[in-house]
Structure formats: C-alpha cells, structure tokens
C-alpha cells in the first residue's frame, strides 16, 4: 500500500530520483563541520520554546497593580509585559524551564554561530565560489544578535530597561538622523509606550522569518555547492569524502539534534538565568546594577566603557560620544566581515574556485589577522565586566578601565604576531597538528626537513586517490565506494 502511494506520487512528481540523490549525498565527517548544525538545532529549540512563551506573553506596557503569587512585588505597579513574564516564570506550568531554556538556547545559538564563523574564516571556506554564503552567514549573525537583544528587552524588567535606555542613547547619537531614528524606532521619547509591542513583532515575526528564509538559502547553497573538505590523501577539489546522508549522516545529525536539545533543556532546568523577579519592574528613574547585556553585545558595551570621553566634531556637526563605540564600531565590524572575501581576493589575486580548505597554518597572514581581530573584540568583551572584575579584585574601577584602554591597543597586535610566528613554525615543522609540533620549531620557524612528518606535504595537492568516484554518465553526481578505502565519495559538479 505504502509502496503504491509512493509510486503514485513519484509518477506525478518524479521525486524519487531527487530523493535518491539526496539520500546518497555525502557529508564530510570532520567534527568542525557540525558547529553550524549546533546553531541550527539551537534555533529549532528557540522556535519551539518561543512558541510556548508567546502563548502567555502580553506585550502591553499598560500598568496595573501586581497581585499575583510573588509576594515581594504584591502592591507594586508593573506593566503587563512584566507581569506576564512573572506569571510565565512562577505560575505557568513548565513556564520557567521553557523561559530559561529559551534564553540559554539564545546564548548558545549566537556562540555557535561565532565559532562556526571562525571555522569558516580560518579554513578559507569563504573563498570562491562560496562568497555569497559567507554574506548570508554574516547577515544571519547580525540577525541573531539583534533578535537576542529584542528578546532580552521584552520582559520589561529593570535590567532590560537599562539596556533599552543605552540602545536609545546610541540611536540618538547618530548625526542628523539620530533624534528622528530614536523616535521612529521607539515611537516617542524613551521610555515610549509602544516599544515593547514593536519589539515583540520584531522578535517573533520579522526577524525569525528573515532568519528562516536566509537559513534556507544558506543550506540550499551549501547543498548546491557541496561541502568543502580538508586536504587529505584521497580528497581532491573534485570529490567529497565522508558519510552518505542516509543512513550514516542522518543518524549522526539526529543524534546531535537530540543532544543539543537535551543540553539546552538541562541548562534551562539547572541554571537560573535572568531572574527578572529579583530585578524588579522597569522604572524610568532607575537603573539596575550591575548592568551588562547578554554576552553577544558585551563587546559593544565594553567599547562604550573604554571609549575616551571626547566629543569630536566632523563636518561641522557635534557628534555625540556614543556614536563611535555604539554605531561606528559595529558598522565597521560588520562591513569588514562582509567585505573580507573580496578584500582577500584583491590582495592575493586568487579568484579560483576552491573546494579544498586551507589549514590555518597555510595562510599565516590570514590566521594572524583573524586572531588579532578576535583578540581586539575579546578584550572589549572582558572590559564589559570591568565593574565586576574591580569588585572581585578590589581595585579601582577607573584604574581598571585605563588598563583596558591600553590592553585593547597592545594585546591584539601581540596576539597577531604570536599567531603568525606559531603558524609559520607549524607549517615549517610539518607536524600534523599543533600539539605534535616540536618546540624547537618555534625557534627555527623555517627549519623544514626534520623529516618527521613527510606525508603531510602531500595533502594539499593530492589529486589522485582511490576514493574518487566517477561520473555516472548523465551528469548527476553519484556516490561510490572508492577503491582502497571504505569511504564513499561524491563528485563535485560545481562547474556544470
């Protein structure tokens, strides 16, 4: 019966050939290729828990006197948004674990995207023909951060109100457009009544729809262009070595999905996150302390803390101070990220399509630049907790900020230089990985030929190799088991 239905559908849609293809598609097994999948599955968890939360959340800022089950706030004027979040946390069955899982999933979602981005960057996977997917990926990162911030702002508690106040002052700092933009986004002067309902629509409809659309495009492009892979014997520019989607990779991926789900729900149950009942409702004349954003905006917060209190004039305008760390820095950051594949092409004149990845040591300059950039943002990120660090070490917070102002300039180049030396040494030593590099390689970075790891030299330009599969005639890819290994390989038709 089932077979009949399947045949009926196939006769009309011709799906079986596609399905056959899809099931035989080959995925590389290297662990780092699954970081993006962590982000994907964290996103699924976000959607599932988010739908649950949206049943109970009320985005209105109209005020009423709280008389719910949380005794310390009985009799206090609170907004409906805050009240409904309190109810989700304390009264709705499983509400708190859902809310906390949602929040933890958001933190892990963005973290996984950042690690995925690093993987793509340091292995050169963004090179031709995958620039478009790089651009989509950066856009996804921006959207993820933005959606995280809108979500953080929804409960209308004192901490999120403090965050919104900072966002508002950043919007106002934009020359010429600032005041206008602030009013447009917030619907009036801070704290405007409409902001929470606008945030909600953005948070649960607009941005998620964009993310889903772009994610689909991201995966479709990946499917179409096929995976990259690390250079190894048997892996060439024209094949993909790994596991077939069905059954091996599907099983792995499903396992990963359940694993990510389990980890996030466990965190939601075991670790308290954002206890808004302790923070209290937002009041315009109050700020919470300590006030930090969620980690993915920590670098902006750190930059706001570190940027010296100068007012610079440009083009005859007085530019308010938050503009530089709050608007210019993120703007330049993301612009540079978008432009990177093209910048690199301009410098290296390498516009060839690449399906084999670089190892970080193969491009010491790129690796060093990446490490420099990461160090820069990491220092700013740490500076965002300057008040807590000052308290833990009982030092003056003003001194600490001064120290960070120096570190943010000194550390990145130092890290970049060290990385460059290290990558050079690693490449020179021929060691298969960093942990196996002899220390002497550091002092003689160009000392090739200790001959300990000769086979590694072959990897990058290995063209032959038993695992390569042939063309099955009609131009479609076919997976076959290679001659010497049990690995299925798939020919890449990226020039069809």
């Amino acid at each position: 019966m089932l077979k009949k239905v399947a045949r009926w559908i196939d006769n009309r849609l011709g799906t079986s050939a596609f399905t056959q293809d899809a099931l035989n598609k080959v995925f590389p097994d290297h662990w780092s290729f699954m970081v993006g999948e962590i982000a994907l599955y964290a996103f699924v968890v976000l959607i599932v828990t988010g739908i649950f939360l949206s049943f109970f959340f009320d985005a209105s800022t109209s005020q009423s006197v709280y008389d719910g089950s949380y005794a310390p706030l009985v009799g206090v004027e609170v907004s409906d948004a805050y009240k409904s979040t309190l109810e989700i946390s304390l009264d709705v069955r499983a509400g708190l674990v859902m809310r906390q899982t949602h929040h933890w999933a958001a933190l892990v979602f963005v973290a996984a995207i950042v690690v995925h981005l690093c993987r793509i960057f340091f292995t050169g996977a963004f090179r031709s023909p995958r620039e478009l997917n790089w651009i989509i990926g950066i856009t996804l990162l921006i959207l993820a951060i933005f959606n995280g911030f809108t979500g953080y702002s929804l409960p209308d508690d004192l901490l999120s109100g403090t965050g919104l106040r900072i966002a508002y002052s950043i919007a106002l700092s934009v020359p010429l457009l600032g005041t206008w933009m602030g009013f447009l986004i917030f619907g009036g002067e801070f704290p405007a009544d409409q902001i929470i309902s606008r945030l909600l629509v953005t948070h649960i409809m607009i941005v998620p729809a964009l993310i889903i659309g772009l994610l689909t495009a991201h995966l479709a492009l990946l499917w179409r262009q096929k995976h990259t892979q690390f250079p190894e014997p048997g892996r060439t520019e024209h094949n993909v070595v790994g596991s077939k989607l069905w059954p091996t990779y599907a099983a792995k991926s499903l396992g990963l999905f359940f694993g990510v789900f389990a980890i996030l729900v466990l965190m939601g149950g075991l670790f308290q996150i954002n206890p808004i009942w302790l923070y209290g409702p937002f009041e315009p004349q109050q700020v919470s302390s300590p006030a930090q954003p969620d980690w993915y905006l920590g670098w902006v917060d750190g930059a706001l803390r570190l940027f010296p209190a100068v007012e610079l004039r440009a083009f005859g305008f007085e530019i308010p101070n938050p503009f530089y760390p709050g608007v210019l820095l993120p703007g330049v950051t993301f612009l540079a990220l978008y432009a990177w594949p093209f910048l690199e092409q301009a410098f290296t004149h390498d516009r060839e399509p690449h399906n084999l990845l670089d190892r970080p040591r193969d491009r010491p300059m790129r690796t060093a630049l990446g490490a420099t950039t990461l160090a820069f943002y990491t220092v700013m990120f740490i500076a965002s907790s300057s008040d807590l660090i000052a308290k833990w070490f009982t030092v003056s917070v003003l001194d600490l900020v001064r120290v960070f102002q120096v570190l943010v300039i000194l550390i990145p180049p130092a890290v970049g230089w060290a990385t460059y030396r290290l990558m050079k040494a690693l490449a020179g030593s021929g060691a298969p990985r960093l942990t196996e590099m002899p220390l002497s390689a550091l002092t003689h970075p160009n000392g090739r030929g200790n001959g300990a790891f000769p086979h590694q030299e072959r990897g990058r330009d290995a063209h032959a190799g038993g695992a390569t599969a042939g063309d099955d005639g009609d131009g479609r890819s076919a997976a076959r088991t290679g001659g010497d290994g049990a690995l299925p390989a798939q020919r890449i038709d990226d020039r069809e």
């Binding site: 929040h103 206890p275 209290g280 980690w295 003003l398």
Partner: protein
C-alpha cells in the same frame, strides 16, 4: 693545628651566615617594633563602668580619651556620631581597628552584645548625640514598598540583588569607598543604622528621606534578598549576564562541542 684552604673557606661561609641571620633577625624585630601597636595596659584603665574600661583600653588610643579624635582616628562624638553609629561600627566588626592604616571593613564583632551596649552608653556620656539605636520591625514593613525604595535608593551602589558593587573612585581613595559591600550577612538593626548614619561614602538616609514604615520595608526587602525565592536552579551568584554568558559558553557550547567532537572525526581519523 693547620688550616687548609677549604677550612678557611668554610669558616668564612659560616661567619657570613651568622651575619646574615643577624641582619634578618634585626630586620624582623625592627618591623616588629614599627607595627607593634600602642596598647595601654588594661590595669591603667580600670574603671567602675565596663563600657569605660573597654573604651579606654580599645578605643581611646585612636579616638582620644574624650572621644574628640587623634591623629589615628576621627572624633566619635561629633556629627552624626551617637548610639547608632557606635553600635553600627562595633557590631559590624569595623571597630576596633588594629592599625589606623587598615580599612575599616565589616567582620565579626569583637564584643558580646552586652559589652557593646556598655560601650554605646559610655560614649553617649562623652557627648555623642547622633541618632539613637533604631527599633526595627521588618515584619511590619511592606516588602513591595521596600523593593521599590531599595531599587530606587540603594541598588545603584549595592547592586540590584544586594551582592554588592563598585563605586567609581580613584585608586588613592580609601579601599572601602571603592566598594559598596554585599548585604548578604548584615543584620536588620545594622541595615537601619547604616541608613541613619551613612558610613563612609554612603549617603545618609535620615528622617527627611524615610519614615518608620519605609525603614521597616527596606529592611524587610534586604532580608528577603539575603535568601530570595531562587526558582530555576543554581543562582550563579546573582550577578546577571556576565556569569550567565560564561556558563552559556563553557557549559552550553562546551557540551555541544564535546558532542560533535565525539560523533565527528578529525583529519587523519576515520
């Protein structure tokens, strides 16, 4: 007896060692005398009044026998000093200091409650006329009102969850003016006294700021924050997004990365 060269060398070494040890010992004793504190012998200060005895013995050498202050400590009879301030400083363990250059930080009290009452009584006779020791009844306060007042007046320094915070002060300022301590341990009487006298850089929240109900309510809320409703698992120190971010990365992403490393391979591994 003849000395070999080696013997001579050894004797020289021994002599050098002796000299060096002597120097070190001298240094130690020098340090010892410099920090050894002047403590009038108790027998000198025996008085009928136990409060007076303790004051003369433990406080007078810094605050003066009349309480007017010395180079080692300020006056304890002027300004807002009075029963509340004496009680606060002594019962939080800030006083007596051992060394005038040490910061006056909260620690366990050095006296029994009845001794503290006697010290307070004695200093009042010296003329300390500041606020009386308050009667506190947190159970009569409205915890919701307390929450509002706390957020508005105290949270900026002591943090929203009362775990303490830093104040923007230069490094040459006194250590205690750089930090607003966490309020996890402090008792209800001391909370009110702190508001009445404003220790260190803390502002005074006197009768012009709060009435009796306000004080009771704030104390009720601070006591609540000492042991709050901790739904949702490990509270992670109540410090907010910083610790949350660390846990998100280390536990959350860490566990998932571990997972993919486990089900994935690496180069050269099948």
């Amino acid at each position: 007896m003849t000395f070999t060269r080696r013997d001579r060398d050894r004797r020289l070494t021994v002599r050098l060692l002796v000299v060096a040890t002597g120097l070190v010992l001298a240094g130690c004793s020098y340090r010892g005398t410099s920090t050894e504190l002047y403590q009038p012998s108790p027998t000198l200060a025996v008085a009928d009044d136990r409060g007076e005895t303790i004051y003369r013995r433990d406080c007078a050498w810094c605050h003066g026998s009349e309480g007017g202050g010395t180079a080692r400590g300020p006056s304890v009879i002027e300004g807002l000093n009075g029963p509340a301030s004496i009680d606060f400083y002594v019962s939080t363990g800030r006083m007596p200091l051992n060394d005038p250059s040490e910061p006056a930080e909260p620690s366990g009290p050095s006296y029994t409650p009845s001794e503290i009452r006697d010290i307070v009584r004695y200093t009042t006779t010296l003329g300390a006329a500041g606020p009386e020791i308050p009667e506190v009844h947190p159970e009569e306060g409205a915890i919701g009102l307390g929450a509002e007042l706390y957020q508005e007046n105290c949270a900026a320094c002591h943090s929203t969850t009362a775990v303490g915070g830093v104040l923007a002060a230069e490094s040459d300022a006194l250590a205690r003016s750089r930090i607003a301590p966490g309020l996890q341990e402090v008792g209800s009487r001391q909370i009110t006294e702190a508001m009445l006298i404003g220790p260190g850089t803390m502002p005074v929240f006197g009768a012009e700021s709060f009435d009796e109900e306000d004080y009771n309510s704030i104390v009720a809320y601070v006591e609540y924050l000492q042991d709050p409703d901790d739904n949702g698992g490990a509270p992670l120190g109540h410090t907010g997004p910083v610790t949350e971010g660390a846990v998100g990365w280390i536990v959350g992403l860490g566990a998932t990365l571990f997972l993919i490393r486990w089900i994935g391979t690496r180069v050269g591994e099948e």
